[in-house]
Symmetry: C2
Subunit: 188 residues, 2 copies
Amino acid sequence: MKKSLGAKTIIYLTPVLAVGTYDKSGKANVMTAAWAGICCSAPPCIGVSLRKATYTYGNIMERKAFTISVPSEDQVKQADYFGMVSGRDVDKFSAAGLTPVKSELVDAPYVEEFPLVLECRLLNAVEIGLHTQFIGEIMDVKAEAEFLGDDGLPDIEKVRPIIFAPEGRSYHGVGKYLGKAFSIGKRN
Amino acid sequence: MKKSLGAKTIIYLTPVLAVGTYDKSGKANVMTAAWAGICCSAPPCIGVSLRKATYTYGNIMERKAFTISVPSEDQVKQADYFGMVSGRDVDKFSAAGLTPVKSELVDAPYVEEFPLVLECRLLNAVEIGLHTQFIGEIMDVKAEAEFLGDDGLPDIEKVRPIIFAPEGRSYHGVGKYLGKAFSIGKRN
């Protein structure tokens, strides 16, 4: 028998992603988002939801572009910091000792030190409520060679991304390998 | 120096969620989705992207409702199975030995044996490309008491949800606790 917990944004699990943008003056900014996920395979798209009050919101509207940088678990402090202060008040890259790199393909910076990045051009802004969802077409994925597996793709056990657990507001690492998708359920 | 991997749907990390619906005849169906995430805090909403070809797509369009059931890592085989066959051909609940329970609040069934469920009413269907994103307002979250922590909220270390790593197509469990969000980055 399940217990009712009310209408809450609890889903397991959500990612920890750093959204990179430039402001009007060209200053690089970055903020953390967990209300995000892949939302289309073709074109490849990611949806990231932000409040209008964020500095990043205006930057995306202005530049029609953003990046996503995926932090590794040993960068959890920087990732958390990026979600607590506003780019209106602080140069977050500088304060965190991290380096903004201009994307090759879109008008936005990514975090050099984070292992995996996506360069996105804004396709659509969907008004939902408190949050606006930015749908970005993924123009390229880039990763450091040391985080790739033998198949040339990123290896999640090398990238070691961070899980965010909503409501409880805790961060967790990636655990043990459970099996191959589209495979282990075959002899269900 | 980062290496370009092309325009792919790689983001770490994505969830493993079972989307529950009724078809026209009232048969319960369930399919696995990883292209999903929270997309608004108020109203609390989740976005789930599905291809038009899926049986679930038609069911949501018809019933304007769906549920999300979050499997635990020891249910990874059932979760994988739900993503490999179509409800057009099979009664997936019956084949997997799992139980559909009619949601109290919306016209859709959830998976009784999965630890955490969301009941959602359809707010919007956003056409993106191959995928359509269904934005569902979360009307209630329900969980088994044994998966709650002392604070009355679900405990991710008890629920033990599953991570899906795109492209490499592997499943992973939740790992070690890394810290408190909106806190550990303070002394960055």
